[in-house]
Point group: C2
Chain length 276, copies 2
Amino acid sequence: MPQSSSDPHGPDAADVDAQSAAGETGTLGKAVALLDLVARAENPPRFTDLLKLTGQPRGSLHRQLRHLVLEGVIDLSPDGVYTPGLRLLQFASRAWARNSFRLVAEPHLTRLHETTGETVHLGVLRDCEIVYLDKIESRQAVRMHSQVGNSAPAYCTGVGKAALSCLDDADLTARCARMVFHSYTPGTLARAGDLMDDIANIRARGFAFDLEEHQPGIRCVAAAIHAPAAGILGGISVTAPAFRAGSEQLDAWAEPVCRAANAIVADIAGRLGPRR
Amino acid sequence: MPQSSSDPHGPDAADVDAQSAAGETGTLGKAVALLDLVARAENPPRFTDLLKLTGQPRGSLHRQLRHLVLEGVIDLSPDGVYTPGLRLLQFASRAWARNSFRLVAEPHLTRLHETTGETVHLGVLRDCEIVYLDKIESRQAVRMHSQVGNSAPAYCTGVGKAALSCLDDADLTARCARMVFHSYTPGTLARAGDLMDDIANIRARGFAFDLEEHQPGIRCVAAAIHAPAAGILGGISVTAPAFRAGSEQLDAWAEPVCRAANAIVADIAGRLGPRR
DNA sequence: AAACTCGGTTCCATATAATGGAACAAAAGG
DNA sequence: CCTTTTGTTCCATTATATGGAACCGAGTTT
């Protein structure tokens, strides 16, 4: 369900707005803001581009970049363009491998994949977008590495909406206010009001749909995974092309999806008690 | 060929030594050193653990961690343990998707995989270890996401040794001095002298072997990819279980591997000229 | 050629942000 | 209840980041 990073689906790259907390994080904040800028840029920026984008004085920017490059977090090509560095891959690789949420969810995802025969996703909510932590797909003819770590707006994905539905209203409205809506498809819920309505339904029935709201021809059923005591809020989904995912079929999948989600929550609770 | 992150093959987690440049990167340097510590830790550390590991005063450490957590680069579980944050996954996902080296190499990897029918790796050298950028495998029954971004010591992998062989002697010996050797298997070249000898051979014949030097039962042929003008030094390899990779077979694979490597270098050169 | 721009790098006095010791708070445990 | 361990907050001191300006090299223009 996450878009393959190659296909352009919007006017430009600004998929989701820069989400740097901007709360006082001092020097570090500027550094990661810079990294974020470099990582989000459609085509690798050079010094002057960043100069314009950040609006910082030359000296400061130059030193910051130099430090980031020295740390291997950003790479500087000999032709003067900045690209995200390899060190990030190493960090992320470890982060992924050790992520306990993913680890406990894994067997359940496999089982869910076996019972439904369709693609299964695991995602977590991060502010207003969901980050995909895992994916199980049968015929993985196409490359799929790219999917893990990919993020998509919460308001137009099944797991995103399912996760949002767990928030209390104050938090929910606060996040909605921070969202920048974009109509990826005709079905996208592109207004906060529509989203809130859908979330009311999701709360009522206990699971969420994505009816071609992010990618045309792609539908899914999703259930939230909420374990506040463990600081986990995310979800899982079963995704399929529309012709294979009629409303009856989606309804049929809802039950195993919810069952898997509940099982994962239970497992998390089980591993939280005897922690250490 | 890269170890699946779960299996313990050494006494402990300290696979490769912390490689923070430690050259003056000021505040940022400490931040990523901290991140590195958190990412490398076998089991998620808590505040006091990090206090001991870093030796920093409580106040400073606490503030640094708070900043990192605020930026989403480190997560703080409600039970007080620090884990690498999701933001890293997002960064890495973008880094991977946009990496131009990987993009130009991709078709060649696919072709090489088709001609040999075995697993193909793409890696780049980063100081003394190689980071895997891509992998093409036929029957990917087991999970493989984890492989991308994984790193392994350069001295005991095919692509690692191939890449090392491109360095001039001064640089090479400097890096050797920085390596911490560890005998993963009986075949591991665990002394700098042995490594240098092998590298001499690699230089002579133009490609490298890994004869079960990192993982028992796994062999590979590798060729370097060196494009100094583009700042790229890495390699590709064909990997197979030992019973399928006799010395004749490895020799036979060497030619297509080298051809693919050369083709990639040519492609890189092609895209470097008309840059912008 | 000299004069000009443009992209990038270096320098240095100043102000700001990180430092770290110590006090404070809150659990664990004896 | 008192002690120990673990985590958080405060604040004067100091080191560090800042940013304006000068500098450099390479292309362009006159």
